[in-house]
């Protein structure tokens, strides 16, 4: 199992960020190389994503399930699935805190991979997993901030970053 973590600040109010991250229809498209998104309910969604780790390239079919640990502040996302004879099990946790310039989002993700992607792509997987995870949250921030810009007003001071 590998654990990745990080945090960053989004120039958007916590309530708005929260509404975004617990909405599969908004969160789903943040997944990089997304080919298809199928939202089953408020907490369950299925994604088809393009994956490439070293010599292993193909599509992963992932089932995601969202749960709220502390309303408005903490949520967990369990992602399970795989493809090309490989599997992935992820448990991500997001925590939102008020920050000077908006909302601080801290995340931690335990990733367990299996199959050829683990054994053949093993050496390359660290960078790839970090890249993908970072991209998810970068997309999230971009989406929220673009949304804020479109609505013509910044809800928080934008002098931070």
């Amino acid at each position: 199992m590998r654990t990745y973590q990080g945090d960053f600040t989004i120039q958007s109010a916590r309530a708005k960020v929260w509404a975004f991250v617990i909405d599969p229809n908004q969160m789903g498209p943040c997944i990089p190389d997304l080919l298809a998104l199928d939202v089953h309910s408020e907490t369950e969604f299925r994604t088809l994503v393009r994956v490439g780790v070293g010599p292993i390239r193909g599509k992963f079919d992932l089932t995601s399930s969202l749960s709220v640990a502390e309303n408005g502040r903490q949520a967990a996302l369990v992602i399970k699935g795989g493809g090309m004879g490989s599997g992935v099990d992820m448990q991500a946790e997001m925590t939102l805190d008020d920050a000077e310039t908006g909302t601080k989002l801290s995340w931690q993700c335990d990733v367990k991979v299996s199959g050829p992607i683990a054994s053949i792509g093993g050496r390359l997987i660290d960078n790839e997993a970090r890249k993908i995870t970072e991209k998810v949250f970068a997309n999230l921030r971009d989406a929220l901030e673009a949304d804020a810009a479109e609505s013509g007003q910044s809800e928080v001071a934008s002098s931070g970053e």
């Binding site: 199992m1 004879g85 599997g87 299996s114 053949i120």
Partner: protein
Amino acid sequence: MALHPSEARPFGKSITRKEDPRFIRGKGRYVDDIVLPGMLHMALLRSPYAHAVLKHIDTCAAQGAPGVKLVLTGEDLAKLNLAWMPTLAGDNQMVLATGKVLFQYQEVAAVVAQTRAQAEDALQLIAVEYDALPAVVDPFYATTPEAPILRDDREQKTNSIFHWEAGDRDATENVFADAPVIVSQDVRFPRVHPSPLEPCGCIADYNSATSKLTWYVTSQAPHAHRTVLSLVSGLPEHQIHVISPDIGGGFGNKVPVYPGYVCAIVASLSLGVPVKWIETRTENISSTGFARDYHMHVDVAAEEDGKVLGLRVKTVADHGAFDAAADPTKFPAGLFSIVTGSYNFKAAFVEVDGVYTNKAPGGVAYRCSFRVTEASYLIERAMDVLAQKVGVDAAELRLRNFIQKEQFPYLSPTGWTYDSGDYATTLQKALELIGYDELRKEQAEKRARGELMGIGISTFTEIVGAGPSHTFDIMGIKMFDSAQIRVHPTGKVIARLGVRHQGQGHETTFAQIIAEELGLTADDVLIEEGDTDTAPYGLGTYASRSTPTAGGAAALCGRRVREKAKKLAAHLLEVGEDDVTWDGEKFSAAGLPAKAVTMKDVAFAAYTNLPEGMEPGLEATYYYDPPNLTFPNGAYIAVVDIDKGTGAVSVRRFLAVDDCGRVINPMIVEGQIHGGLTEGFAIAFMQDIPYDEDGNCLAPNWMDYLVPTALDTPRWETARTETPSPHHPIGAKGVGESPNVGSPAAFVNAVVDALSPLGVTHMDMPLSPWKVWQVLREHGVTE
């Protein structure tokens, strides 16, 4: 300079290999070269998890995919009572998983389609729902109470497979109690893989009209495989025709029966057409018979001058998810108790515990006779640890401890009767040829300058040639072997044997043995192996057993033919049989050497001019049950230089002096030694199959599991001493595996010797530059 196979009296001569023209010109025929009309192709779906509950398999989409003719799951096989199969080690192994999966890359489903690509594509459409379970990766953890029980199919609810002992515990403890010196060392022999160039594969071709199954398979033991297949499937044995065509390397990997074989056969039986299954490289390394994976602890009791007294060995053997080792029935740890090696121990006690883990199944003898490499490596490493402790030169310590020439036949403390050997002479020859004293001087000068040069010695004893049948069997089948010689009217011979070569050169060496016995040339003798419909029954080629068993059978069968030939010669020479003499090339009337007939004359007479009442024809069959094993041995010396900046080890010289008894073809022996040394080099410096904590196999390909190229491989120097086996019909002992058995210790001993001024006493293989560099850094040699 090699001689042509038309040479007279070919025994002991370096004649060119009869099989080479077809291999060199690309005219060999391997399983994957065979294309049969209407043949379909099979691919296997494998588990991504090392340990998981198999909750559900949905094959609907795969069944409807283009070109797909059949999809098989464990449930389908269960209906045929074929979801599990017996292993050669007496365990059971899943063919296709039911209930749960026990190692990553385990076989879960099979797809048969018109093309391989269609089969592979359809695999992606099979939806399998797994529930991952914690994986047991550490064999020491496996037997703790906290570890989950992996094999709930077994009555015994434990991950322990067997506990095995050899030697005398009390006598050994007594020796240790009074010993002035005791050295101890943990030694690991990594999990390695034979990794033959050609992976495993087969074509199953069931003819529903004749009810005959023809099975083309990469098999080192075609007869045994036919019997196993008959017992497992219920098909009559005479309706199974096993053909093992040219084999691109085996090294033990092609001894077991694999799940893919069973699936291909079931598919052909179901569909009534030929079904081909050929592994990928990853499938070969990650799921078929690996070797070693022994965690050993050794204690040596000795006098202060380094004379050994007692040996104590405790080993944990990681067999993976199923015990699919290919050892003789009574020997779950093979011949590991040869671990007292070439040394005169008073007492020894050896324990081995086999355990299950969530790794690929196996425990095959990779170019060694049943766990002998592990044993040899351990004792040769331990002798160096002892030499370092008592401050005696490694060569001198060995000379002080050798079993002496006069002691043969020598009964070892673990119960083996060594046939012959002259260890001191062999080592002395090696020391002289390599210039040992000069090298030690050079080393002293280099050490004074801070340079790292090492000299490593290994003086191993092998144990090969199983039978004899009173001790050795596999699944109850006695380990004899056989030869059948048929001399045709023009004096040309077709000989068939129960073994199956995979690079050993049987077509040449066995032709030489038979030609020598019959006064013919090797060109006159065609050797055929690997076809169960024509060859006499035998247990196959592995464990350096072909020459000790089938080679003996070939010689004795030749003598049996010669007995009848002598009667025919008497008839042709018009003298009594007692007055006929044989000089190796012709029969002549005693006292009248000019009055002579050759084997060709006699062969023609066997079909055209027989004495009254004699049965026509000239042929014989011989089943040879050897009275004992043979004990090849050798003295190997490696010289290495270590780069202080990178930790890279350069093998400057390597000398192998082998004693394999009488040599049939010196060139082939030398070639065998070159190959085995190259594999030993790879094991010492490059090879390991590690698993991560989740049971993911981290070296399932040739990017991570390294095979040396010509650029990596050192230059080999070889020499021989010749101590014939007293009981073998031609005094031969077998050699194919000696270099793999003996060389890893020489390499490691050389590296440890180079690093010994730093206080290093042991390092585990593989000695990669990274590992050596870490040691150098720990000791402040490099930054």
